[in-house]
């Protein structure tokens, strides 16, 4: 992107666009056009949440209505049918790629469409309880792979970085550039930053257990160098995962419908930055369908975030 610094500056920007004050609908946005030419309105986060709360309330109301109707007809089948109706209601709501999946609600369900509820419960359908706690979700079948884990640990004693750099083979120390020793071990292949206060950062592991093992090995090395190192407060600070949905994504469309969460600046970065609120994960979505998820403290957050984003991405699959 460095070469783009030399892009035409004056020639491009100074000519006044014709009819600048009368914005037309842009040709290239496949989705609904953004409200053009209006005074800028900063986002009110409370507004978006209240809209979603309303949607949830509407969903619940519809579920209740459906349940009441069914219970009037048949008692026993009502229990099963109501669950299926509410589940399918959520399916039709969730299937539209435009509702932002803020809360970790149920994703697409495999319940039959409304209007095809069986009159008698078939032996295959389980007698699920009325409250749809965890309906069967149609998972994407793709599992994000963990690529990097960052963890910290406190060795509990002051360290002399010069000694460590002198007596360890795998250490580098350049106090003018950075105030820590950079140490590397081969198995698991990781890098550690060891500070004179005794705190250590371990990066590069592919799983939580590997990160813990690597941190322990670094602590052992420091121990063998003569310091009374302990292993206190080991904590995973960040986890990065990546996966591929295997279809191209219209990033311009995604930023239009999910503008509160997305940031897409092709002049700066080719990917779209999606800041999911629940779970609090940042996703980098690229046009090739590759997704990078970061900011997680536990593995489940990465999986949850991907399950939340997958239906949204599928919604943009067939757009020209």
């Amino acid at each position: 992107m460095d070469q783009n610094n030399s892009l035409p500056p004056y020639a491009q920007g100074l000519a006044s666009p014709q009819g600048a004050m009368t914005p037309g609908i842009p040709i290239f946005s496949p989705m609904m056009p953004y409200g053009t030419g209006l005074t800028p309105q900063p986002i009110q986060n409370s507004n978006s949440l209240s809209i979603l709360e309303e949607q949830q309330r509407q969903q619940q109301q519809q579920q209740q209505q459906q349940q009441q109707q069914q219970q009037q007809q048949q008692q026993q089948q009502a229990a099963v049918a109501a669950v299926q109706q509410s589940a399918s209601q959520q399916a039709t709501q969730g299937a539209s790629g435009q509702t932002p999946q803020l809360f970790h609600s149920q994703t697409l369900t495999t319940a039959p469409l409304p209007g095809t509820t069986p009159l008698y419960p078939s032996p295959m359908t389980p007698m699920t309880p009325i409250t749809p706690a965890t309906p069967a979700s149609e998972s994407s079948g793709i599992v994000p792979q963990l690529q990097n884990i960052v963890s910290t640990v406190n060795l509990g004693c002051k360290l002399d970085l010069k000694t460590i750099a002198l007596r360890a083979r795998n250490a580098e120390y350049n106090p003018k550039r950075f105030a820590a020793v950079i140490m590397r071990i081969r198995e698991p292949r990781t890098t550690a930053l060891i500070f004179s206060s005794g705190k250590m950062v371990c990066t590069g592991a592919k799983s939580e257990e590997q990160s813990r093992l690597a941190a322990r090995k670094y602590a052992r090395v420091v121990q063998k160098l003569g310091f009374p190192a302990k292993f206190l407060d080991f904590k995973i600070q960040n986890m990065v995962g990546s996966c591929d949905v295997k279809f191209p994504i219209r990033l311009e469309g995604l930023v239009l419908t999910h503008q509160q969460f997305s940031s897409y600046e092709p002049e700066l970065f080719p990917g779209l930055i999606y800041r999911m609120i629940k779970p609090r994960i940042v996703l980098l979505i690229f046009v090739s369908g590759k997704v990078v998820l970061t900011g997680a403290k536990v593995r489940a957050e990465i999986y949850e975030a991907f399950e939340n984003i997958y239906p949204i991405l599928k919604g943009f699959r067939k757009t020209t």
């Binding site: 020639a11 100074l14 040709i27 083979r169 071990i185 257990e209 813990r212 090395v221 897409y264 700066l268």
Partner: protein, 425 residues
């Protein structure tokens, strides 16, 4: 000059604006008393005489505005004027700068960041009013680094919670194309290279729309695509004279910088056009290549919607169903088209099976069509628990032997000594 002031000496109101050399003075015409003496020695009494006072001694309501903020606001206004923006933009940009300055993180930032912040405010204002301004332009005007600009811009958008729409491609095409100096003959631009602005603009817009449809715009910087499209549009309007001209020469003629990715965008666009040309039977027999397809861009653009649908298939669809559907489509189109599509429609249905148009290619972004640079092997499932025993020998391999330590210390000392030896006089 009647201004309501009175001479403190004689009380007359006959004050005259006079200047002593270059210093402006207010003098009483009756007694000659100098009432005020310009900005160098103003005091509160001067202000009482309704003369101008230095800002720092005034009783202005904006005492909260610091010097650096004033400078920034002034810069915002200057930048808006340099870019010749409508007057309404200036006020919005100034408001954004003031809003940003409320945050302590911005107030305590370095001057470099504050200068870049000026550009961010102007950019956000332009984006929200659909004025096509690229970040490259602003960075060049501010002599700023794009990395610094991008960091400050993202921070500002997040801090103020702003909703910034995407760059409007149509407007960008119009302004950018208008800046090409090809619409009038000049000593550097021969007559055969001069082109009509409207024709070039409309053709460029069609080409950019085609690029957007075929995944050449998503995820990329918009400007190189537009440069490539403008070049193709210009070439295709008079191919016989303009085919020998290269992209670099074209940009030099038009007095526009050539962005580095433009040549690869050009190749991608030509590849798309070639695929579309394969669907037209009379072009199929010509066996076009990347140079000769330029002559037929006009025809290809006229039928671009149909051709794209026929030439490409959805990257995720099944191959069998799509091919059958396309064959059916061709025959159906051969009969049901209007006069403009006659030549397109009639030929495919008459051709024997051997001369059928090429089977559709995948409509995917170029990054998905290229083979992966390196195949990432799936990592083996690790059975590490994190609590294994760590053998001493494994740790020993990371420690230096005493001999190594001595050697290393000696080498370090020698290196230090070599550095400390003073240069001979």
């Amino acid at each position: 000059m009647p201004g309501g002031g009175r001479c403190p000496g004689c009380g007359s109101s006959e004050l005259v604006e006079d200047s002593h050399y270059s210093q402006s003075q207010l003098v009483c015409s009756d007694c000659g008393c100098v009432v005020t003496e310009g900005v160098l020695t103003t005091t509160f009494t001067d202000e009482g005489n309704l003369r101008e006072v230095t800002y720092s001694r005034s009783t202005g309501k904006n005492e909260q505005v610091s010097r650096s903020q004033q400078r920034g606001l002034c810069r915002v206004r200057d930048l808006c004027r340099v870019l010749q923006l409508p007057p309404a933009f200036e006020d919005t940009a100034v408001a954004y700068y003031q809003q940003a300055y409320q945050h302590s993180g911005i107030r305590a930032a370095r001057l470099q960041k504050k200068e870049v912040l000026v550009g961010c405010c102007v950019l956000i204002t332009c984006r929200q009013r659909n004025w096509p301004l690229t970040m490259g332009t602003i960075c060049t005007l501010l002599y700023a680094d794009l990395d610094v600009f991008s960091g400050t811009y993202m921070q500002m958008v997040k801090l103020l919670g702003l909703d910034v729409p995407s760059l409007c491609l149509v407007d960008l095409v119009k302004t950018y194309c208008s800046s090409f100096k090809l619409f009038e003959a000049s000593p550097s631009v021969p007559a055969k290279y001069v082109e009509d602005k409207d024709k070039m603009l409309s053709r460029t817009l069609q080409l950019v729309e085609l690029a957007d449809e075929t995944w050449l715009v998503t995820g990329r910087h918009p400007l190189p695509v537009i440069t490539a499209a403008t070049f193709l549009a210009w070439q295709s309007l008079r191919p016989s004279d303009r085919l020998p001209c290269s992209l670099a020469r074209f940009c030099k003629l038009a007095n526009v910088d050539l962005p580095y990715p433009a040549s690869s965008r050009l190749q991608e666009l030509l590849a798309v056009l070639l695929r579309m040309a394969e669907q037209l039977a009379w072009l199929q027999v010509l066996k076009l290549d990347k140079r000769s397809v330029v002559k037929h861009i006009g025809d290809l653009l006229q039928h671009r919607h149909t051709l794209v649908r026929k030439a490409f298939r959805d990257g995720t669809a099944e191959m069998d169903t799509q091919e059958k559907e396309l064959q059916g489509q061709e025959q159906g189109q051969g009969q049901g088209q209007g006069p403009s599509e006659e030549d397109v429609g009639s030929s495919p249905s008459d051709l024997p099976a051997g001369k059928r148009p090429a089977s559709p290619a995948l409509l995917l972004p170029p990054c998905m069509l290229k083979p992966p640079k390196r195949v990432c092997p799936t990592p083996p499932v690790s059975t590490v628990t994190g609590d294994e025993n760590i053998s001493d020998s494994e740790i020993e391999q990371y420690l230096r032997t005493p001999q190594e330590v001595r050697d290393f210390q000696r080498a370090q000392a020698a290196g230090q000594a070599a550095m400390n030896v003073p240069n001979p006089p």
